[in-house]
Amino acid sequence: MANTDITSKTMDGMGPHGTVVGLLRVLGPAHVWALGVGIVLVGEYMGWNFAVGKGGAYAALIACWFAGILYTCVAMIDSEVTSTVAAAGGQYTQAKHIVGPLMAFNVGLYLTFAYTMLEAANAITAGYLIYVVSTMTGYAGELDQRPFIILVIMFLAWLNYRGVLATLTFNLVITAIAFVAILVLFLSTSGILGGGIMQHAALMEGHELPYGWIGVLAAMHFGLWYYLGIEGTTQAAEEVRSPARALPFGTLAGIMTLLIAATLTWYVCSGVLPWEFLGDGVNGSVAPLFDTARLSGSNALVWLLGIGTLFATLASANGCINDASRAWFAMGRDKYLPGWFGAVHPKFRTPYRSIIFLVPIALIFALGAPLDQVITFSILSGLLEYTFMPLNVILFRKKWPLNTIKRGYEHPFHPLPALVLLCLCGITFFAVFLGYGTQLIAMIGFYIVVSLWFHFWRYRFVNRGTQFTMPWPKPQGY
C-alpha cells in the first residue's frame, strides 16, 4: 500500500502544489457539518415547495425521500473519495486525478455555477423576507428589495475574504439556530406541545395527485433542492485539521440532519398551507416555513421562523461563496482558468481574487432572473455533477482498488450506491425535461461549447504531469 496518509504533515496546506502560502488547516468536523448543512438548510426554508407545484403535496414527499436516497448515495461516495483527496476544489480535484482534465474542468464549472446560483437564490429570498417584514410592521410603500440583495452578497463576500474560520464559525451558529427553529415549529404546530393545527387530509382532499404519477416524476426536479449542496463539504478538504476523520463524519452527519429536517418541513407546511399556494414559490409561498408560522397565530413563531429564514439564507449564501470560490481558485491554480485566480491572500490565507470575481456574477443573477429559473440553473449544474459521481467512484475503485491506497472511509455495497445514483439522476433529468426542457438543453449546450473550448484552446496552457498532485501509485490499466 502506498504512503497516502492524508493527515501527514508533509501534505499540509498547499504543499503538493509547491507554493509557499497555503490555506489554513483550522476546521473540525462541526465546521464541516455546518458547511454542508448550512448551505442546504435554506432548501427547507424556500425552493423545495416548487416540487409541490410540479406534482402536488404527496408527490413532493415522495420526491423528498427519493432525493434523500440520491443524496445518501452522493454522501457515501463522496466520503470515500474525498477522504483520500484532501485538496481544495472537492469533486473538481477528484475528477482531475480519477477521470481526466476535461471532466475536471466541467466539474469545476458545475460546482461554481451550482453554488453561485444558489447564493443568488438565497439573496433573492433574503430581500423578499425583508420586504414581507416591512409590510407586516406597517410600512405603507413598496420596499425596494435590491439594496438588501446587494448588501447580503457584499457582506458575506467580505466575511469570506477575511478568513475561513470566522466564516464557518458564523455559519455553525446561525445554522444551528435555523435548524432549531424548524424543530420548534414542528413541536408547536403538530400537537406535541399544545394544540395542533395540522389538517393534511382536509387540505389534500380531491388534490392527492393533481397531475397523476407523472407529477411524482416531475417533482423530483425540485426534490433535489431539499439537499442540494451537501456535497460542498469536500471543498473544505484542504482546510480541515483531520480530513480522513472530519470529512466523512461531517458529511454523513449532515445528510442525516437534512433527511430529518426535510421530512419535518414537508409535514408542517403541507398540513397548513393549500397545495396550490405552497407550490407556487414566485406568486404564492416564497418562504413556506415562514408562511406556516404566519398561520399558526403565534407572533413568537412568526419572529422565530422569520429569523430562521434569514439565518438559513445567510448561512447558505455564506457557504456557497466559500465553496464556489474554492472551486474557481483550484481551477486557477491548475491554469484551467487564468492563473491570476489561483492566488491566496498573504494575510487572511483565503482565495480572495476568486471570492471578489464571483460577486458581480452572483449579483447579475440575483437582480436579473426569477427565482425558479435561478434555482433550476443551480439544480441542473448539481445534477450534472451527481451524474459524474458514479462514474468517478467506479473508475476510482477500478484504477485504485481497496488494497492499493489508504482510505479514511470505505463506502459499503459498491457498486450498488453508484448504480442507484445513476438511475435516480436519469429520472431527475426527465423530471427537469418536464416543464424546463429548454433550460436543460441550453445548459447542456453551454457545457458542450465550453468543453470544446477547453480541449482545443485552453488546455494548451496547462502543464501535464504536474496536475497530478496526490501521492498515489500509478493507476491500474495505464
Binding site: 410540479k54 477521470v99 399556494f277 440553473f377 416543464g435 480541449h455 494548451r460
Partner: protein, 126 residues
C-alpha cells in the same frame, strides 16, 4: 519524448478567456429567458367567470386557509387553476437523451486522451 511545457499566456488573452466564459454563462440563462423559451410557464386552461371557492374546487378547510392568507376567490383564481403542461413528443425526449449522452461521451473520450498524457508524464517521465 520531452515533457510538455505550457506556453505563457498573455494578460490580454487571459482577460479574453474570462470574458468568454462569463458571456457564455450569462447567455445560457438569459437567452432562453429573453426569448421566452425558458419553459415552466403555468397556464390557466379553463378560466372561471365570477369565481367562488366551490367553483374553484376548494373545500371549506382549503378556502379557510386561503382567506387566512389574505386571498379571496378572485385573487386566488390564477394561483389555484394554473397548471403545467407535461405533454411532450417522443422526438423531443429522444433529442434530450441524445444531447445528454453525447455530452458525457464527448467529455469522457477527450478526458481519457488528456488523462493518458498526464499519467505518462507523471509516472513514466514521458
Amino acid at each position: 519524448m520531452a515533457r510538455y511545457k505550457a506556453p505563457v499566456q498573455s494578460k490580454a488573452s487571459q482577460i479574453f478567456d474570462v470574458i468568454f466564459l462569463v458571456v457564455l454563462t450569462l447567455g445560457a440563462l438569459f437567452v432562453p429567458l429573453k426569448m421566452g423559451l425558458s419553459g415552466a410557464a403555468k397556464t390557466v386552461a379553463e378560466p372561471v367567470a365570477n369565481p367562488t371557492w366551490e367553483s374553484l374546487g376548494q373545500t371549506p378547510a382549503q378556502a379557510a386557509q386561503y382567506e387566512a392568507l389574505g386571498y379571496d376567490p378572485a385573487s386566488a383564481h390564477d394561483l389555484i387553476l394554473a397548471r403545467f403542461d407535461y405533454s411532450f413528443t417522443a422526438g423531443a425526449l429522444i433529442a434530450m437523451i441524445v444531447v445528454i449522452v453525447a455530452y458525457y461521451v464527448l467529455m469522457l473520450k477527450f478526458s481519457e486522451t488528456e488523462y493518458r498524457e498526464v499519467i505518462a508524464e507523471k509516472f513514466d517521465g514521458k
